[in-house]
Symmetry: C2
Subunit: 344 residues, 2 copies
């Protein structure tokens, strides 16, 4: 059956537009680090798939993939499409396990088409049970990070206090709701008054604070001892939060977004005495270590969405024309929900 | 039965000599922070014990107990005997669970006699199976720390590499031997060439280095990725070691001895990116959280000592005349093995 009849809604462009990584940035990637190009649509070899991307994901973690150096995945290659996650549809399959017309989520890069082996597929969506875009956000690495990191390292018991940075973001907005549904208190830190309102009004937070305007030291002293710190930013806020942790507290380190550059390594307060005297357990969490648990997480989160127990916001722009500034823009906190580029 | 017939070897002094904590030090306690005094032997009330101390323990952790502030036990009170662990014999018991003439290890302070409730007893030695002094060191918090911290947070599998600071010390010398017996590679850092020789010749270390003379950055780059870092010193060595950890590595923070004062908190390299990208688990370990496991640990370590599979060194001085400088001296690394004062 020709692919057009399987996915009639999708135009299949004749060329492959790509957002090329030109330079290896020192910190947050800038527009000058990227270039747009166009080339022929690649063709899959035996055991490969041709994926037509529909939603391209924009993630803070792309900073690290672009910068390279010691990190958890190999650096995004220069001269190729920027390493990125995407939701797409299989338009040609030369692998018996993958059906044409089936939706997938994985490492497909910032481009119209990707030729990939099956190892690049993170989730086989098949037929979407909720909106397709959700599979690139709350049902992608963002929501799955919230779900698995809490499950593996949060070890929540009722009535505990959980502090969350980037609380209105794609990960944090899910964390808040999962924390509340576990019978715990969620406290959010986020970057605007509007986001504060969404945290408490929409994402399950008992309280939230704007770290651009609030006195975070005073806020943290006020909220009482923190049992779990779900942190994606590091830096001064981390140093302050460590000094308010409860004995036996858990810190889940999911990112270090507040630090603009790690070269040279910046200085901060020494934290080993806090780890010791408060008997903290401080865990680094990288979602790609846990791909074997993605299906379970997606099924669980899908069920909550369908039941109306889990909401999410998206900030979708059309096309990839503005991709070169997209990472920089999410570091400035301009997005209102999970940032995606719709190119289908 | 009169106590003299039960423990004929021990002279029972008529007065209680005490090493009083006079001032709250900012960092490592100095001789001027203590005073010796003498007072009447106290008498136990109902449900209390009178313990005649035999071995007084000198521990790096006493620094924190003297300094006070946020810590894991209440600050040692000013004007009272310095908070300390000791091995003693019960000379009067007004508690039915404790027999006179029985040996005990616990929070008895730097003094000849302690009147304590049963909650101050950490280990009921009863009749010693090995030398009595061992129960204040390798069978006290030092050896038990090595045993339980490795068991709870080391999660060793064969052929892993374990880096240990203060490797020739009362904790580290036990860690090395336990690591080797688990089929893993133990690398020690210690403060003199003589201690290096004892680490490799006596305490199971595959290699050891003098951190006063070796280029630790080069050493760490050389030994390969570290799976477990058993750290009692913190500071620059910690920062270096974190940058050589294997993915999934574990850090056991048992002390921060290299930092002379925490007021104000000193600066160091920011470490959250290492925690994240290397997926570390960094645990604070305070032995007093695990008193429920002491008996199991003591039985296991006793068996190894009796079998000749576990050795230890002691550095015992007679009397408590030099107690005022004892903590400072162990921070200078002058002791050759577990530091005790014999006053029996």
């Amino acid at each position: 059956m020709p692919i057009e009849s399987l996915v009639p809604a999708y135009t299949l462009p004749a060329e492959n537009r790509r957002v090329i990584l030109k330079n290896r940035p020192a910190g947050i990637p800038q527009p000058t680090d990227f270039a747009l190009d166009e080339s022929a649509v690649p063709q899959p070899a035996d055991l490969e798939l041709l994926v037509r991307n529909i939603y391209l994901s924009v993630d803070p973690a792309q900073r690290g993939w672009a910068v390279g150096g010691a990190n958890y995945i190999p650096a995004a290659p220069l001269g190729g499409p920027m390493a990125a996650l995407a939701v797409g549809v299989i338009v040609k399959s030369r692998h018996q396990d993958f059906r044409e017309g089936s939706f997938v989520y994985g490492w497909f890069g910032w481009q119209d088409y990707a030729v990939v082996g099956p190892e690049k597929v993170l989730t086989r969506i098949g037929i979407p049970r909720v909106k397709l875009s959700a599979y690139a956000g709350i049902l992608g690495i963002n929501g799955i990070t919230a779900y698995l990191a809490l499950q593996m390292f949060g070890r929540l018991t009722q009535h505990e206090t959980v502090l969350v940075t980037t609380a209105a973001g794609a990960v944090g907005s899910t964390v808040g709701q999962l924390v509340r549904s576990a019978g715990c208190r969620a406290i959010g830190l986020t970057g605007s008054d509007d986001k504060v309102a969404r945290c408490t009004g929409r994402f399950g937070y008992d309280a939230a604070y704007n770290y651009r305007t609030a006195d975070i030291a005073a806020v943290l002293a006020d909220i009482g001892a923190i049992d779990v710190f779900f942190d994606s930013i590091g830096g001064d806020v981390l140093d302050l939060a460590l000094r308010q942790m409860n004995v036996g507290g858990r810190i889940i380190q999911c990112g270090t977004a507040s630090i603009a550059s790690w070269t040279p390594p910046p200085l901060g307060l020494r934290n080993e005495r806090e780890v010791l005297t408060r008997r903290l357990s401080w865990h680094g969490f990288v979602i790609f270590d846990h791909t074997g648990k993605f299906d379970e997480a997606v099924r669980s989160l899908e069920a909550k969405i369908i039941a109306g127990d889990l909401v999410y916001d998206e900030d979708i722009e059309i096309g990839m024309d503005e991709a070169a500034s997209a990472i920089e823009r999410i570091y400035r906190g301009e997005n209102q929900g999970k940032k995606l580029m719709f190119i289908g």
